[in-house]
């Protein structure tokens, strides 16, 4: 979807390569592709970057992307003979690795396409385990961490990595390969943020934690494939993992860094990891942690209990609850707006990093608040991205 401010990773079709075969228009599930006698084009107001059209295109013409501040209109595109010169604002080269994981990450990072890792972040390991040689982890525990009465079923899963070396940094994700079922013709891969810090859920035990929300309806009336598989695992079950993935959504290790973290639902997973890293390793650092956490009710908020137990000198938590009976409706952007002066002030320091993780829908409203309170936001956004200080991962 397009947003009014900031950078957009626009999906284009290369008119020089396209053979006008109509396959993409036929494939796109939401009618984002249209054509005239000359060209096939993607409507930036509709395309959700789902990637469905990429595989079926016989030419590769469809796999063209530009980073822009104002999207090229349909009319412009219909008249093109060539793709416009890119303005240098092109997607960074992406590391080799699992194509599907890369595609999923690209979509997740589409809101911050030029992000680089924070300067003081540790260099991550990538693609240690591949689809051809995944590692097998064993379930050590699987607990529901939302109220059993609530609609939202989120699980905390602890996986033991046995003797495998599988180094993870806070903010990285792993790929899960659920077993194939008769109606999936190829192995499915899904990404999950690791919610434990680099030394594991329990230090010295070579394990990691995931925070998984059960998807009841995948849009076609069926339960989500991977999330239900994960939520239903019991102690002793084995899981095939690939990865790790992600080399930009990482935390600074400089103890003076401030982290502003904004999330909804399972978007909290990487922030749990980052917060825990701070608690264990940088307890007396001068850096501030500020968390905006959105959920409908307390009972639907993952890790509500443990979160409340955290020392307020470690982390400043702004719960934003939208459906709690006795409270006014409050979304993350409302919380953010209320503390805009503080956030703006913090962002003025080079040591401050802003993270956004969770549902795609919140990206735009968060941007709107930032644009209201920070003069010249679009330019600032570009600058923050380049400095490794703005990170968006939404799915």
């Amino acid at each position: 979807m397009i947003t009014s401010t900031g950078l957009i990773r626009q999906h284009l079709i290369d008119p020089e390569v396209c053979i006008r075969c109509n396959t993409c228009e036929e494939t796109c599930p939401i009618g984002a592709i249209t054509h005239n006698d000359d060209n096939y084009v993607v409507d930036p107001a509709i395309c959700a970057s789902c990637g469905d059209c990429l595989g079926p295109c016989p030419t590769g013409a469809i796999d063209s992307w530009r980073i822009v501040t104002t999207p090229h209109s349909i009319d412009d595109q219909l008249g093109w003979e060539l793709l416009p010169e890119d303005t240098g604002e092109i997607f960074e080269s992406v590391p080799e690795g699992d194509d599907e994981a890369r595609a999923l990450l690209e979509v997740a990072h589409q809101g911050a396409p030029r992000a680089v890792a924070p300067k003081s972040a540790t260099v991550p390991h990538l693609n240690v385990a591949t689809r051809h040689s995944p590692i097998t982890a064993t379930v050590m525990g699987n607990y529901r961490i939302t109220d059993p009465q609530s609609e939202s079923d989120v699980h905390h899963l602890v996986l033991d990595l046995g003797g495998h070396a599988f180094p993870i940094l806070e903010g990285q994700s792993v790929g899960v390969l659920p077993p194939s079922s008769p109606d999936t013709m190829r192995p499915v891969l899904r990404l999950y943020s690791v919610s434990s810090p680099r030394d594991g859920e329990r230090p010295g035990h070579n394990n990691l934690a995931l925070t998984v929300k059960r998807v009841m309806n995948n849009g076609r009336g069926q339960p989500g494939l991977a999330s239900n598989y994960l939520c239903d695992l019991v102690k002793g079950d084995q899981v095939a993992l690939v990865g790790p993935f992600g080399d930009t959504f990482l935390m600074p290790t400089d103890p003076a860094s401030n982290l502003i973290m904004i999330c909804t639902g399972t978007g909290s997973a990487p922030f749990r990891a980052m917060t825990e890293f701070h608690r264990r390793h940088l307890p007396s650092g001068p850096g501030k942690l500020l968390l905006f956490f959105g959920a409908r009710t307390r009972s639907e908020l993952p890790y509500f209990g443990p979160l409340m137990k955290l020392d307020r000198t470690l982390i400043d938590i702004e719960l934003c609850l939208s459906r709690e009976d006795e409270l006014p409706v409050r979304h993350v952007q409302d919380g953010l707006r209320e503390r805009a002066v503080e956030v703006t002030e913090l962002l003025g320091h080079d040591a401050t990093h802003l993270y956004l993780c969770g549902v795609k829908g919140m990206e735009e409203s968060v941007r709107d608040v930032l644009a209201e309170s920070i003069p010249d936001w679009p330019a600032r956004e570009v600058q923050l991205l380049q400095e490794g200080r703005l990170h968006i991962e939404t799915y």
């Binding site: 075969c21 396959t23 595989g55 590769g60």
Partner: protein, 479 residues
């Protein structure tokens, strides 16, 4: 007989494993198919590992899996595009009724005929292209050829599935017969003329995939409208694969043009008719390209049959075969009282005459096709225009060099003038590839098998396949 695990060998979404009757029929047919492939499939590359795209499912993520595969081990599959339980017949006398999941008795013969004719074209092109691997201009092109070949093979499977699943013993016999006809064989030729022509060289192959396979696209699209739902869904999925063939043709010729233009420029040649000099440089001159184009376009037009056809009218009225993009056309979809302008010879000139639309459906499909071809030619011309060289490729007139329909054996020149006092052959000969052209093209056909190298007469692709670089080892020859 060796038992085959059909679900893993033959990826499918038709519950093959649980359909005993179909499985038995396929088990009987499969050895013959493999035998045919070994005899008539790409000559000499059975052991090479080819970086092929295999479909393992019809959802967007499942249908393009790239991996190295030996062609005989390619996983031929049976795929139907996702169904719509609410789908209704979109045209003809049954318009608005629910689509058929079984063959309506009264249309059985007509439907079988449609399937057999379509099915017959698929193995034919494999046969025609059998020897081309020996002279591929690059590993990239070699891969594309083989991709086209295995997909034609899979399309044969698709038609055979329909025949065996829905047409009982008759269907099984027709499926068997598809394996016994041979392109160009005088005693048992393929059913349509163009599929008995030679594809002697790579230029012809690119022309074939651009022009002749595009006929396939139009036929398949018209069948994808069918009220017989299994046919509609099968052909809809085939169309996604067919698009690759069109790509091979369009980009192949585009790259030939690029190589010619670049070489002419480098040698300071501005005159496209300076043929001898251009040929000495080892690239294909544009006038020769035009003659090849004339030939392949006109031969492909013949595939649409005669302008007026009661078969086509019946197939439409019965709801079996629609028009191109029938669902996007806004009329009554029954063609009551509708007319369509058709080109006819009248008093020594060619005129457009309005005729009952139902009877000239072939002409309409052919016009849609010609329009699509013209758009492709337009894109090639853009490249020529940009180079500053004064030359434009053109499609010859619909009446030029035809062997079927209204203009059959008429002395019509590429511009559409009816030329008097000359025989068909004399008119056409100077506009079709001649023996010298063929010998010259043939002399260029030397294999280039080093990764990243391309024959002089063809440029490297702008984008290779699956985001791979041009020097990727698309075929491992000695695996």
């Amino acid at each position: 007989m060796e038992l085959i695990d059909y679900d893993s060998q033959i990826p499918n979404n038709v519950a093959l494993a649980s359909d005993e009757r179909l499985k038995r029929a396929l088990e009987q047919w499969h050895p013959g198919y493999l035998n045919w492939w070994n005899q008539m499939g790409p000559n000499g590359f059975a052991d090479s590992e080819v970086y092929l795209r295999t479909a393992t499912g019809v959802d967007p993520k499942g249908w393009a899996q790239f991996q190295y595969v030996k062609m005989p081990e390619y996983r031929w599959g049976i795929f139907l595009a996702p169904g719509d339980p609410e789908r209704r017949i979109g045209f003809g006398e049954h318009i608005g009724e629910p689509v058929w999941q079984e063959v309506p008795g009264e249309y059985r013969a007509m439907l079988r005929r449609l399937l057999v004719v379509q099915g017959d074209t698929e193995p034919a092109s494999v046969e025609q292209q059998r020897h081309l691997g020996a002279t591929a201009p690059s590993l990239y092109d070699l891969r594309n050829l083989f991709q086209v070949n295995v997909e034609e093979g899979r399309h044969l499977w698709a038609m055979v599935y329909l025949l065996q699943r829905y047409f009982g013993r008759d269907g099984r016999e027709e499926a068997e017969a598809l394996l016994h006809r041979r392109s160009g064989d005088e005693d048992r030729p393929r059913m349509l003329g163009a599929f008995n022509e030679d594809t002697p060289d790579w230029l012809s192959f690119f022309m074939f995939t651009f022009f002749t396979d595009r006929d396939g696209k139009y036929q398949l699209e018209a069948l994808a409208q069918s009220g017989f739902d299994p046919l509609a869904r099968t052909t809809r999925f085939m169309l996604t694969e067919e698009a690759h063939h069109m790509f091979v043709g369009e980009s192949g010729i585009g790259r030939v043009i690029d190589a010619t233009l670049a070489t002419m420029k480098a040698a300071g040649i501005e005159d496209p008719y300076d043929v001898d000099r251009i040929r000495t440089l080892g690239v294909i001159d544009l006038p020769t390209l035009q003659r090849y184009l004339n030939f392949h376009f006109s031969v492909s037009l013949d595939l649409f049959g005669a302008e007026g056809s009661s078969n086509a009218a019946n197939a439409f009225a019965s709801g079996l075969k629609g028009r191109f993009n029938e669902h996007k056309i806004t009329d009554d979809h029954r063609l009551v009282g509708a007319t369509y302008p058709v080109l006819r010879l009248q008093g020594g000139a060619i005129v457009a005459r309005d005729e009952p639309a139902l009877t000239v459906l072939n002409a309409r499909l052919r016009d849609d096709y010609a329009n699509d071809c013209a758009n492709g030619v337009k894109r090639w011309n853009k490249a020529i225009e940009k180079s500053g060289i004064q030359f434009q490729l053109t499609l010859p007139h619909l009446g030029f060099h035809r062997r079927v329909g209204e203009f059959q054996s008429q002395p019509i020149d590429p511009a559409g003038n009816v030329v008097t006092d000359r025989t068909f052959d004399q008119v056409t000969v100077s506009h079709l590839p001649n023996a010298t052209d063929r010998a010259f093209i043939n002399s260029l056909m030397q294999p280039v098998y080093e990764p990243g190298n391309y024959a002089r007469w063809i440029a490297a692709p702008k984008v290779a396949i699956d985001n791979k670089p041009g020097d990727f080892e698309f075929v491992r020859l000695h695996a």
